[in-house]
Symmetry: C3
Subunit: 270 residues, 3 copies
């Protein structure tokens, strides 16, 4: 029995039991799918835009937070900078999704500032992780990566050691590293990239898993396996993106720890 | 024959005939489902953000308005304060959805100010209605209520008498009161709480029903029965939230006054 | 063989091959469906809100742009004015969707200013096209047209000659004109108007087709046929709007150039 699979299964089990409340500061396009994916695994999603309300929630009932810079403007950037400081004060772990960092200057600067209040996890595609690590790589094309996820592994390790965060590089193979240990996940299906917001909503799941896992590394591993597995199962019946999107939520909702334990494709690499 | 059921059926019939135009000032997460639920019952949804345009619409073709404070910021709060005054001048009835009031200070103040231009209806969960009535109750956990809907009935009556609005407290049993008469609705299904925006979009339906019903109380009763019934019928075939969400819109669209008359579960309580 | 059908088929073929990156400055309600419809035909959707980031993208990897004024506020209006100037400098063609122009003063003024950096295409319903052309017509009711699309043809021709843009007037019959040539498309189904954002997302498809077609006129013709055909095919199996919306994305994704060539209903009119 693969102990990583068991870890992922336990995380799913605890999500359903503990129902973590996740504050999502995310982009305009993916608000609905982010909330629905969290609800599907038993989480409680909350979206806020007002800095004082964010602070109130972080100091009352929030368990985790997602910060995604997809449609960043000046006001949101200011709100996010305050929010990550408040999260640090309140002891709430947060996940950074540095959408299109490296391609666009404003958000690249903002994300580098956000790192001053270190996230527990960073989720991005290869181009984004390479750019955020300060390495030189091919720029992404919009929100798509121009690099294979494997190419980002050295940058991911650097970024993990620099920030203390677990790094989840998504791609055909997902790479997860804390700088010392590295794990791959090969669950998932290509059609997941053809529904807007699946990647961004994954950041919300990361934040939820963070609140119940033993470490950020385990949370990243569990998220990759859980979402990847739901995606595979939905894709098996639904080859087109409209009905696939609905089936993905259904499969996330129907997923059991037993299935995660038997079907996750997780491997430690050296 | 239950006369309440007949009332709900007539409201649905008139929605389809009159196709009211509803202006929705609502949160970032639920814009799409709010519009789609209104379209499904024959309504015409409009979303605007500019105060002058809101005024133009209220004085031209709007029939009703929803104000939902889910992702409130300073600018939206100012826009909403102006909008409810303009609605009063234009004689347009409006619905307040005080999302997470009581838990978060900023929106609690804003909602209390909005009540100066009284809404025709207020829709909330038990925690929100208790908080808005100024009573002492358990705080909600994010957007979830910590209280059973029955526990909010005294607060709902107080709030109804204070504001003149009909109050719709949603929960496993919905309570509807104008302070004098109280009605329960037991249509609905638990899965409706696991699709983001169903509750918020209900506020849009409330506004639509307001424009065609004989009273705000009747509009609230009809909305609870119509949406609850569509939810039950969708849940009977779709136990998971992704396909349920699509089926809910289908069932709303397919619902007939005859079905509403025969299947609504409405009761007057003392 | 209808040469217009062949043109539409070729445009779809090239969309799948070239995968154009489309920047969408669009309203709050339709962000998700706009992205998903672009993804379904092989496009790469990007949504941004920050003027410098928009400029960066227009000068790096954007191929086309959509500007839709559906939920316009002061800040977005300023961003859009800058964006269309930047698009002109970068040589990026753009599409204007003048939602509810004529009914609401603020956006009518803004759209008239946007025309100073002429769009390659304008897509609207009859009321919007009549109003933007400066002609006198019935005002729209919210986002619905009060006019039959045929009634807007003279205004559409005037607007085409004044701006240099191809005009796509959508309705039961779509009219497409560059002021000299006029084509009708009778593909489509009434249910498409009962899913929020189908019309707005069509603007994103227009921008995508613009980047691969030989002319804006051909791009408009291809968009009308492709979306209309997908809508017909989805409606044949799904008479209600929830499952129809998912099926529409599936059919767009499954559509082949062969089907477009054999089933488009395009006609040159005099």
């Amino acid at each position: 029995m693969n102990p990583l699979n068991q870890t992922a299964a336990e995380v799913l089990q605890r999500l359903c039991e503990q129902k973590p409340l996740i504050l999502n500061l995310t982009n305009n396009v993916v608000q609905s799918i982010t909330a629905n994916m969290l609800l599907a695994v038993g989480g409680v999603p909350v979206m806020l835009t007002h800095s004082e309300e964010i602070r109130d929630l972080l100091h009352s009932c929030a368990n985790g937070m997602l910060v995604n810079v997809g449609t960043l403007n000046e006001q949101q950037a200011a709100t996010m900078k305050t929010a990550v400081q408040d999260a640090a004060k309140a002891g709430i772990p947060w996940v950074l999704d540095p959408v299109a960092v490296g391609l666009l200057k404003f958000r690249t600067q903002v994300c580098n500032e956000l790192l001053n209040s270190p996230p527990a996890m960073i989720r991005g595609n290869a181009s984004e992780i390479i750019a955020l690590a300060g390495a030189q790589g091919a720029l992404c094309r919009g929100v798509e990566s121009s690099e294979d996820s494997a190419a980002a592994l050295p940058a991911a390790k650097t970024l993990a050691l620099k920030t203390g965060a677990a790094i989840l590089v998504t791609g055909e193979t997902d790479y997860i590293t804390d700088g010392t240990h590295t794990i791959t996940c090969t669950n998932g299906h290509e059609i997941m990239t053809r529904v807007t917001g699946v990647g961004c909503a994954m950041g919300g799941l990361c934040a939820a898993c963070l609140t119940v896992a033993n470490s950020a590394l385990e949370a990243a591993v569990a998220t990759a396996a859980i979402l990847g597995l739901a995606g595979e199962r939905a894709a098996a019946q639904h080859p087109h993106p409209g009905t696939f999107a609905a089936a993905l939520l259904d499969e996330l909702n129907a997923l059991t720890p037993e299935k995660v334990e038997s079907c996750s494709k997780l491997k430690i690499i050296i």
